[in-house]
């Protein structure tokens, strides 16, 4: 097998700009991930206090979801170059993907409805919510938790 290597094409200004764009996308993804991690740790520290607010946690989780969608958009448009393709081709990929909107909504709603039906015996009794959905705490909240279980 001959191993002579063909000379590469000369580096133009467009290439420099392109490589710059790639690295910029990398930094954006890295920063978004670090922000997500910071928010994840924020949730962890908020939940250390047993009287945390559920709606605050839900809000932070919502922000994390939006950041994730932003990351996905970056990967698809910059790394996978979908943005550079012919418009009709983008649409053949994008339009079927819209099914995900229904897919996520319907099945999450289904799960939530199932929980409600089980907790209330299909609406025949009232469910008293126990705010105890966390695994092995290290210390502190334990005493409080124990009382709730009685």
């Amino acid at each position: 097998m001959s191993t002579e290597i063909a000379t590469p094409l000369p580096v133009t200004e467009a290439d420099v700009a392109h490589v710059k764009k790639i690295w910029k996308a990398f930094w954006v993804l890295l920063i978004l991930t670090i922000v997500e991690l910071a928010l994840g740790l924020t949730i962890y520290f908020i939940e250390m206090n047993p009287d945390y607010s559920d709606s605050l946690i839900l809000f932070i989780k919502g922000v994390i979801c939006i950041l994730t969608i932003a990351k996905a958009f970056y990967i698809i448009s910059i790394f996978m170059h979908l943005g550079d393709e012919v418009r009709t081709m983008i649409l053949t990929v994008a339009i079927p993907s819209l099914l995900f909107i229904w897919f996520v909504t319907a099945f999450i709603a289904d799960g939530a409805s199932f929980r409600n039906l089980r907790n209330t015996d299909a609406g025949s009794r009232i469910y008293i919510q126990q705010k105890d959905h966390h695994a092995v705490p290290l210390e502190g909240p334990a005493e409080k938790r124990e009382k709730k279980l009685d």
Binding site: P8, V11, T68, I75, T88, S97, G111, P137, R145, L149
Partner: protein, 244 residues
């Protein structure tokens, strides 16, 4: 008559050129990735559906808190490392594709090699994480008796903790957790493994000069699309299992 022929010839659907201005292989790679995203989507949405239907789930900050060479409780640390590895290997892949456009064989080899290393590092991390979960024993109170459970597809020691004989012990959590976690991260890890194999084949073919002879490096581009998709899926796996 002549004008009719001329008309059909200029129609983009009459053959001879790609209406989407991409090669058949690249287009089909996109459609494969779209269908694969629905497979992953189905798994993750099923997981979400089950999680919404239960009153208790596991607390990921306590399940995933290990880090190599330390006994400390470090939530999110190891998985962040895995995420950074995968993002970085995505960048090296896109740089390999770029060098392919420039017909720079040495550049393609260098970046492709780094991408393969990144993929292997990620797989190693996953193996470490799985081993820790499966072999790590936890005290669980089952029917008034203490048992020692690892996290598997049939055992989940991460239920709400209770006091027993003066110290805190776990209770059995939802069994579905192990199945979903190992199933989905395993399916993703299998994709990473496939990507590493494909990239290795691409590296060998590059080294042999196959693409230089062919006159274009489009195969690198297709492998790149697949590799970025693996990264894209990880973004969502990371979200669903470790962050929320």
């Amino acid at each position: 008559m002549e004008t009719a022929i001329a008309k059909t010839r200029t129609n983009i659907w009459s053959g001879g050129k790609s209406p989407f201005n991409v090669s058949y292989g690249k287009l089909m790679m996109w459609y494969f990735l779209m269908s694969d995203s629905f497979t992953f989507g189905a798994f993750l949405i099923s997981y979400g559906s089950i999680r919404f239907s239960l009153n208790t789930w596991v607390d990921h900050n306590y399940v995933f808190n290990e880090f190599p060479f330390t006994e400390a409780h470090l939530p999110l640390a190891f998985v962040s490392l895995m995420t950074f590895i995968l993002i970085f290997s995505s960048v090296t892949m896109v740089l390999a594709v770029h060098q392919g456009h420039k017909m720079n064989q040495k550049g393609v080899e260098k970046w492709l090699f780094l991408t393969i290393l990144g993929g292997l590092a990620f797989l190693g991390c996953q193996a470490y994480e799985w081993t820790g979960l499966i072999t790590g024993q936890h005290e669980v109170l089952v029917n008034g008796v203490i048992q020692h459970w690892g996290t598997t597809t049939s055992h989940n020691p991460w239920g709400p903790s209770v006091m027993f004989n003066g110290h805190l012990v776990g209770t059995p959590g939802p069994v579905a957790f192990g199945g979903y976690f190992f199933g989905i991260t395993g399916f993703h890890g299998f994709h990473v493994f496939t990507g590493v194999v494909v990239n290795t084949i691409m590296l060998i073919k590059t080294k042999r000069g196959d693409f230089a002879k062919r006159g274009h490096y489009e195969m690198i581009e297709k492998a790149g699309l697949y590799w970025h998709f693996v990264d894209l899926v990880w973004v969502f796996v990371f979200l669903c299992f470790y962050l929320i």
